[in-house]
Amino acid sequence: MSNKQHCPSPEMLTEFSAGTLEPAASICVSAHLHYCSHCRSELLNLNEVGAQLMTQSSPADINSDALLDDVMKKIDELPEVEAPQVKQRAVSDLPHAVEKMINTAPKPPVWRRLTKSLDIQRLISGQNKFEVALHKIHAGGKTPQHNHQGIEYTVVLKGSFSDEKSVYSEGDFIVRNPGDIHQPMGANNGECICLSALEAPIRLTNPLGFLLKPWLRINPM
């Protein structure tokens, strides 16, 4: 994944690096990093900015020796130090944050059908401003055309989909702003799974769309 068109904006990366980005948006940026080495290396540099600012700021008054004693006592009470982890990609190859949300949910998240070509699996993310969920667009499926009333972040986890503007494939990061209308369509050669964080209810623009509303309403967890 090296198409810079479909990466988070430099601003978002900066806020992610400083830790000031909205949690739901941060989850999506983090999922994107799983696929994008370009953004990963940008972040190494951004972290360096924070690190240098921290070391160049004036140190606070502190009784280091007393505190060090406390810390050493706590360290002695710790269980044996864990061996250095051999890093392996998870077998499922999902971004770590997504995998963790799925695996730590009190009840296993399930797929629910939204339309004949679109399923949703809502995830618990520990914040309530955005609905964080996985969407599955079936091969060749058309999702209902809809109008965004809030921001939506999407990261393609598997497969690809397209809309009026572009084709999006694995790892792509997409921001939809309030007022954007679009109609995503699944690729013909297989299903597409996306992570999304949706800020406010979307409005279906199809006249019969109201039939779907109860299931499409935003449901942050």
């Binding site: 190494l44 360096e48 280091s64 505190l67």
Partner: protein, 220 residues
């Protein structure tokens, strides 16, 4: 694991080899990095104490700089303790070819500070810690250790030469943990001005000088 069912399971696990990147001249030799490697490989308590004396006052200052929701008076020393215990625990996984000790400890501190403030202000079930969001960034990147190190030097030098207002805004963002929006309210500046100051500063540090960045700049 439930998540295995989401995507197909046809990829070989990729194990990461540190051997190649750790060899030869790419190793870092700044004193804090050497000490941290000592802690990691030999569980050296003297080295840890030296790191502690250097970083504790900086970490306390860093903790106190962020007056966010969840802030409490004892946050300074609590953060120092939590971060330094993590440093001890995770030192074996520190890879000096990827980052200096300073950068590595900063990232631990940033993640701890966010989680600490969130824990104090939020009683919801929190499935993710900030560290979880940074696992991916830890993966191998194509950037050479040498280039990474050159970037570090560059950032260090250029930071001291930033105009006052750009330095101020970077401190707000990184040290005080203010979002661009919060910074604009606090400084009484339009959001666009805050954003462009951050951009200009990062450009001077030669961070994030990608093509789309320039494009955005010229559109304003």
């Amino acid at each position: 694991m439930r998540s295995e069912h989401i995507l197909s399971v046809d990829k070989e696990p990729v194990s990461k080899s540190k051997v190649a990147v750790l060899s030869g001249t790419n190793k870092r030799d700044d004193q804090w990095t050497l000490l941290l490697v000592e802690v990691g490989t030999n569980r050296d308590r003297k080295a840890f104490a030296q790191l502690f004396r250097h970083f504790a006052p900086l970490l306390k200052g860093f903790a106190q700089a962020s007056r966010h929701e969840g802030w409490f008076p004892g946050i300074g020393e609590e953060l120092v303790q939590e971060v330094m215990i993590k440093v001890w625990q995770k030192a074996a996984g520190f890879d000096p070819s990827k980052a200096s000790a300073t950068t590595w400890i900063y990232t631990v501190a940033r993640n701890c500070r966010i989680d600490m403030l969130r824990r104090k202000s939020n009683t919801q079930h929190l499935p993710l810690e900030n560290e979880d969001l940074w696992q991916e960034a830890d993966e191998e990147t194509p950037m050479s250790a040498l280039r990474q190190r050159r970037n570090e030097e560059q950032i260090k030098t250029c930071l001291s030469q930033l105009p006052k207002e750009q330095d101020e805004i970077l401190r707000k963002v990184y040290l005080e943990g203010k979002s661009h929006t919060e910074a604009s309210q606090e400084l009484g500046l339009p959001l666009g001005t805050v954003k462009s100051r951050v951009r200009l500063a990062l450009q001077k540090l030669q961070v994030l000088v990608t093509s789309d960045y320039r494009e955005e700049m010229s559109n304003e």
